[in-house]
C-alpha cells in the first residue's frame, strides 16, 4: 500500500519539476525503486508466510468501498513484478537521461510510476470495480508511455491499436464480472461486486462458462494470446525500452494473474473444456509466437514476439493444471501450476533483462534493426555477456532458470497417462512435442538475436562507434542476470517458497516431494520418476571447463591473430556476413506457410559488362502476419463501411429530418396501439 501511494504521489508531483529534468531523473527513479522494494518485501512475506490481509478503503461506489486483499496468489505476482520494476527503475536512471531535451521527461516520470501503481493495485484488488480501475490505470498509463516518443507516426498507430485492444479487453472483463456479480448475493445493493461474494456464488454451468470465456478473451487480449497478439509486436517496440521491459515482463503477467484469479479462485475450474481451451491457446501462441520471432529482424519486435511465445508456454502450464484439476489430481495440478508460475517468474526476469539489453543497444547505437548491428561485443563489454545470459535462460538451457520451468512443464506433460480420457492421452504428448519444437526454435531465434547483433563485424557506422552504457543501466541488468542464474540453480528452494501459492490455487503443493532428496535434487513427484540437479550440472560443467583449461594452458603455446579464411579472394567485408534474413532463411523455407511473404529480387542490369555480373542486386522481403488479414482487417473495414452507411442518415435536407420524426411518430403509434 505504502509503495503504491508513494509511487502515485511522486508520479503526480513530477510535472511540477518539469523545468529541471535532470533532477527528476536522478531523484525520482531511485525513489520508485525504493517503493518497489517495499512492495517486493510485502509480497515476498505474503507468499512465504501464506498470510492473507484484507483492507477496505472508504471510497468508490456507495455500498462498494475499495476492497484490497493481499494473499499468496497476489503476493507472488507482486513479488515478481516489484522485483522487476526495482531493477527497471535503477536502469531507468541512466536510460531516461538520454531523453532529456528530446522528449518531455516529466511525462515519463508521471506515467511510469502510475503504470507500476496500476499493476500493483490490480493485483491487490478484491472487488470488480477497483480491479478494473487498477487495470485501466495500468492500460492508460502504459498507453501514454508507448506514445512517449509521439513524433513518430508509427508509434502513434501502434499506441492506438494498443489502447483500443486494451479497452476492448477491459470491457470484456467487465462483462464477465457483470455475469459473476449478477449471480452473486446482494447485487442490488452493490454487494455482489466483491470477489468474496462471487466466490460464494452458485453459478449455473452455462453462465460460468460464459464468464470464463469473457474473462479469458479479455485477459488474453492483454496477455497477447494468438490471435489477440497483434498489438504486442507494435506497442512493445514503440515504447521506450525500460517501459517495454515492464510491459513485457510485468504487465503481461497481470493478465495471467487475472486468468488464474477468475478461473481458479472464483470459478474453481468447474468444466473440462476450459483447461483444454487454455492448453490449445497456449500451444498455438507458443508455436506461432516463436515462428514470428525467428522471422523478425527488429530486435525489439523479436523480443515482443518471443513474449507471445512465453505467454503461450505459461498458459500451457495453466491449462494442464486446469485439466488435472478437473480430473481431481491435485498433486499433478500443483506440478503444472508450479511450472507455470515458475515460468511467469522466469519470463519476467529474462525478458526484462533482454529488453533492457536491447534498450542499451538502442541507447548507444540508435539502431533497432539487426541488419545494421554486429560486433557490439567488442564495444559493449558488459552489456554483451548480460544479454547472453538472457539469451541462454530464454532458450531453456541449463543451468539457467528458463530450463527449470520448461522441464517442469515437460514433467507435467508426462503425467498425462494418469488421465482417464483417451483423447487427452493422445493430444497431450503431441503438445509436449510442440513445446519441444518451440523451445529449440526460440533457442535458434536467440542465437540469431545475439549472433547477428553482438557478434561478427559491425554492419553500420552507428555500431562501429557504439560505446558502453552508463553504470546504472548495467547494475539494473546484472541484478536480473544474477536472479536468472539463482532461479536456475536453486529451484527447490524457490518451489518451497512458492508452495503456499500452489496450495491456494490447486489445493496441493509439490514442495514436499520436490525437495524429497534434499535441496540438491529437484524431484517433482518422486525420485524414481524424474530428477534434475542444476547445481551438479553447473558445477560439473564448470569444473570440467576449468580442469581442461588449466591442463591445456600448462603448456604455453602462442596465439596468432590472423585474418579469417576468405577463400583466397581477400578482403572480407562486413557485407559478406550472414545477415539476419539469411540466417532465418531455412526456417522461412520450412514454416513459410504461416506467413504472408512477398519476396522480390531486383537485378539492375544497367551499366554492367556481363549479365551474370550485375552492378547491383536489390533483395527485398516483406513478412506479414496472416492473421491480420484474416481477422482484423475485415472487422475494421466492416466498421468503416457501417460508418459510411450511417453517415447517409445525416442527409442535410430538413424535410428528410422532419420525415424521420414523422415516421417515428406513426411507427410508434402503430407499434403501441
Amino acid at each position: 500500500m505504502t509503495s503504491i501511494s508513494t509511487l502515485v504521489l511522486f508520479g503526480l508531483s513530477a510535472p511540477f519539476f518539469h523545468k529541471h529534468e535532470k533532477f527528476i531523473v536522478s531523484v525520482f527513479f531511485p525513489i520508485f525503486a525504493a517503493a518497489s522494494l517495499v512492495s517486493f518485501a510485502a509480497g515476498f512475506l505474503a507468499v512465504s508466510g501464506g498470510i492473507t490481509e484484507k483492507m477496505i478503503l472508504q471510497a468508490g461506489l456507495p455500498g462498494l468501498p475499495f476492497h484490497l486483499r493481499l494473499d499468496p496468489i497476489s503476493g507472488f505476482f507482486i513479488t515478481v513484478i516489484s522485483l522487476l520494476s526495482f531493477c527497471v527503475s535503477v536502469y531507468s536512471v541512466g536510460y531516461v537521461k538520454s531523453f532529456i531535451g528530446r522528449e518531455s521527461v516529466a511525462n515519463m516520470a508521471v506515467f511510469y510510476p502510475l503504470f507500476i501503481a496500476g499493476m500493483l493495485l490490480t493485483l491487490l484488488a478484491d472487488d470488480a470495480f477497483i480491479f478494473l480501475v487498477g487495470w485501466e490505470v495500468m492500460a492508460m498509463s502504459s498507453y501514454f508511455l508507448v506514445i512517449f516518443e509521439n513524433k513518430i507516426g508509427a508509434n502513434r498507430r501502434a499506441a492506438l491499436l494498443y489502447v483500443v485492444m486494451a479497452h476492448a479487453g477491459a470491457l470484456a472483463i467487465l462483462m464477465s464480472f457483470g455475469v459473476l456479480a449478477g449471480f452473486a448475493g446482494g447485487f442490488e445493493t452493490f454487494g455482489g461486486y466483491t470477489f468474496d461474494a462471487m466466490r460464494s456464488a452458485t453459478i449455473p454451468p452455462f453462465w460460468a462458462g460464459v464468464a470464463f470465456l469473457l474473462a479469458f478473451l479479455g485477459f488474453g487480449a492483454k496477455a497477447g494470446i494468438v490471435p489477440l497478439h497483434v498489438w504486442l509486436p507494435e506497442a512493445h517496440p514503440a515504447a521506450p525500452s525500460n517501459v517495454s521491459a515492464l510491459m513485457s515482463g510485468a504487465m503481461l503477467k497481470t493478465a495471467i494473474y487475472g486468468i488464474l484469479r477468475v478461473s481458479f479462485d472464483i470459478l474453481h475450474v468447474s468444466q473440462l473444456w476450459w483447461g483444454e481451451l487454455v492448453l490449445i491457446a497456449g500451444l498455438v501462441s507458443a508455436l506461432l509466437g516463436v515462428l514470428y520471432a525467428i522471422m523478425e529482424n527488429d530486435l525489439k519486435r523479436l523480443l515482443a514476439y518471443s513474449s507471445v511465445e512465453n505467454i503461450g508456454v505459461i498458459l500451457i502450464g495453466v491449462g494442464l493444471s486446469m485439466i488435472f484439476f478437473t480430473f481431481q489430481k491435485p498433486l499433478m495440478s500443483a506440478l503444472a501450476i508450479t511450472a507455470a508460475l515458475y515460468h511467469v517468474m522466469n519470463h519476467a526476469m529474462f525478458k526484462g533483462l533482454l529488453f533492457m539489453g536491447a534498450g542499451s543497444v538502442l541507447h548507444s547505437t540508435h539502431e533497432r534493426n539487426m541488419e545494421n548491428m554486429g560486433g557490439l561485443i567488442h564495444k559493449m563489454k558488459w552489456t554483451a555477456p548480460l544479454f547472453l545470459v538472457g539469451c541462454l535462460s530464454i532458450s531453456a538451457l541449463p543451468p539457467f532458470n528458463g530450463f527449470v520451468s520448461e522441464w517442469l512443464t515437460f514433467q507435467a506433460f508426462l503425467m498425462s497417462p494418469a488421465l482417464t480420457s483417451q483423447g487427452l492421452n493422445l493430444l497431450i504428448p503431441l503438445g509436449a512435442a510442440l513445446l519441444a519444437l518451440t523451445a529449440v526454435l526460440s533457442a535458434s531465434s536467440f542465437v540469431k538475436a545475439f549472433g547477428i547483433s553482438f557478434l561478427g563485424k559491425p554492419r553500420s557506422e552507428n555500431c562501429a562507434t557504439a560505446e558502453e552504457s552508463p553504470w546504472s543501466m548495467l547494475i539494473g541488468m546484472s541484478i536480473l542476470a544474477m536472479t536468472c542464474l539463482l532461479l536456475g540453480v536453486f529451484p527447490t528452494a524457490v518451489i518451497g517458497w512458492m508452495s503456499n501459492v500452489s496450495t491456494a490455487l490447486a489445493g496441493e503443493t509439490i514442495a514436499k516431494s520436490a525437495g524429497g532428496m534434499g535441496w540438491l535434487w529437484l524431484t517433482p513427484v518422486a525420485a524414481e520418476r524424474a530428477s534434475y540437479s542444476a547445481p551438479m550440472l553447473f558445477l560439473g560443467i564448470i569444473s570440467v571447463v576449468v580442469i581442461v583449461f588449466l591442463t591445456l594452458h600448462a603448456r604455453k603455446n602462442t596465439i596468432h591473430r590472423v585474418k579469417p579464411w576468405d577463400c583466397g579472394y581477400g578482403g572480407l567485408t562486413s557485407k559478406m556476413q550472414y545477415s539476419s534474413y539469411s540466417f532465418s532463411m531455412p526456417s522461412r523455407v520450412i514454416f513459410g506457410f504461416f506467413f504472408r511473404m512477398r519476396e522480390r529480387v531486383k537485378i539492375d542490369l544497367a551499366r554492367t559488362r556481363a549479365p551474370e555480373f550485375p552492378a547491383q542486386i536489390k533483395y527485398s522481403l516483406r513478412i506479414r502476419d496472416r492473421l491480420w488479414g484474416w481477422l482484423y482487417k475485415p472487422v475494421i473495414d466492416g466498421v468503416f463501411k457501417l460508418g459510411r452507411h450511417t453517415a447517409r442518415l445525416q442527409h442535410g435536407r430538413i424535410h428528410v429530418y422532419l420525415a424521420y420524426s414523422f415516421i417515428t411518430v406513426i411507427f410508434l403509434l402503430l407499434f403501441a396501439l
Binding site: 554486429g374 541462454l392 492421452n425 503431441l430 591445456l552 590472423v562 559478406m576
Partner: protein, 313 residues
C-alpha cells in the same frame, strides 16, 4: 566397496567417454575405408590427430571475441557431462540422478548453442551458414528425440535414464510396435545429430555442403582439438544412449558387474559402428532442404510410436 562402488563406476564411465570415443570413431573410419575398398589408417589414428592439434599453435581470427574462445571448453564440458549421466556400463551412478533425458537433450543444446554463436562470431559467411543450418536441423531433430524418449519413458513411467534402463532390463524381450517405430526414429535422429552422412558429411570441406564443419572452420590448434574430441564423444554418447534405451541388456546394476558390462558394451558399439558405416556407404548426402523431410520422417515415426503405445499396448 559398496559405497565406493557408484563413485568407481562413475569414473569408469567418464574415462570411457573421454578415452574410448576416439577409438570408436577410429573403428568407424577404418570400417568405412574397408567398405569403400580404400587402405585404412590405424584404429588409433584419431588419437594421433588430436595430439597433433594440441601441440599446434592457434591462429585466431582478428575479430574473434571471447565467445569464440570459450566455446570449445563449454562444448567439451557439456558433452562430457552428458556422457557421465548415461548408464554405459552401470545404472548405479551418482550423476545419473542429476539429469534426466530432457536435461540430457538440453546439455547437447548448450553445446550447439555455443557452437552456433562461435560460428557467427568471426563474421564469415561460412560460419553463419553453418550455424543457421545447424539450428534448423536441431529445431527439427530435438522434438523428435524428445518424442522418442517420452515414448520409452512411458513404458518405465520415468524420464530418468537409469530408471528406464532398469525397467527395460527388467522386462523380458518382446516385440512392441511402439519400440520398433521409436527405434527407427532414433537411428535417423542419431545420424542427423551426430552429423553423419545423409544429413551432413563430417569429412567434407566443400563450403556449400558444410554444416558442422562450417561452424568450426575458423578453429585451429587446441580449440579445434577440443571440438573434434567433443564431436567424437557425442557420437559415442549417442550410441551408448541408443544402447541404454533399446538394448540395455547386460548393463550392470552395481560396480561388481562392470567387467561383463564392459565387454557387452564393446560388442554393441562395434555393431553400431558397422551399422553406421553401412548407412553412410549406402546413402548419399541429401540436399540441405531434403533434411526437413528426413527429420520429419523421424518425428512422424516417433509420434506413431507414442500413439501405438496408447492404442495397441
Amino acid at each position: 566397496m559398496t559405497e565406493l562402488g557408484p563413485i568407481f563406476s562413475e569414473f569408469v564411465q567418464i574415462a570411457l567417454t573421454v578415452l574410448v570415443a576416439p577409438l570408436f570413431v577410429g573403428w568407424i573410419r577404418m570400417l568405412k575405408c574397408w567398405a569403400q575398398g580404400r587402405k585404412a589408417p590405424g584404429v588409433l589414428q584419431p588419437y594421433l590427430n588430436l595430439m597433433k592439434l594440441f601441440s599446434k599453435d592457434i591462429l585466431l581470427a582478428e575479430n574473434a571475441s571471447w565467445v569464440f574462445r570459450v566455446t570449445p571448453y563449454v562444448v567439451f564440458g557439456s558433452i562430457l557431462m552428458a556422457g557421465s549421466i548415461i548408464p554405459i556400463v552401470s545404472t548405479d551412478i551418482p550423476l545419473s540422478a542429476s539429469a534426466d533425458i530432457i536435461a540430457l537433450v538440453a546439455l547437447f543444446g548448450i553445446a550447439r548453442f555455443f557452437l552456433a554463436l562461435a560460428g557467427m562470431d568471426v563474421g564469415t559467411s561460412f560460419g553463419g551458414m553453418g550455424s543457421s543450418r545447424e539450428m534448423m536441423i536441431a529445431s527439427l531433430a530435438e522434438p523428435a528425440i524428445l518424442m522418442t524418449s517420452f515414448t520409452v519413458s512411458l513404458f518405465s513411467r520415468s524420464t530418468s535414464i537409469s530408471e528406464t534402463v532398469r525397467f527395460v532390463e527388467g522386462m523380458d524381450f518382446f516385440l512392441s510396435p511402439s519400440m520398433a517405430f521409436v527405434f527407427f526414429a532414433f537411428v535417423l535422429i542419431m545420424l542427423a545429430e551426430t552429423g553423419r552422412v545423409p544429413v551432413d558429411n563430417p569429412t567434407t570441406h566443400l563450403e556449400l555442403t558444410m554444416i558442422h564443419e562450417g561452424m568450426i572452420l575458423e578453429y585451429s590448434g587446441r580449440h579445434l582439438a577440443l571440438i573434434e574430441w567433443a564431436g567424437m564423444m557425442k557420437l559415442f554418447v549417442f550410441s551408448s544412449l541408443g544402447i541404454a534405451l533399446f538394448a540395455p541388456w547386460g548393463i550392470a546394476s552395481n560396480a561388481s558387474g562392470i567387467p561383463l558390462a564392459l565387454a557387452l558394451a564393446a560388442v554393441k558399439l562395434a555393431l553400431i559402428g558397422v551399422g553406421i558405416v553401412l548407412a553412410e556407404t549406402g546413402l548419399a548426402k541429401m540436399r540441405i532442404f531434403r533434411v526437413p523431410e528426413f527429420l520429419g520422417t523421424a518425428f512422424i515415426l516417433a509420434t506413431l510410436g507414442m500413439l501405438s503405445h496408447f492404442m495397441l499396448e
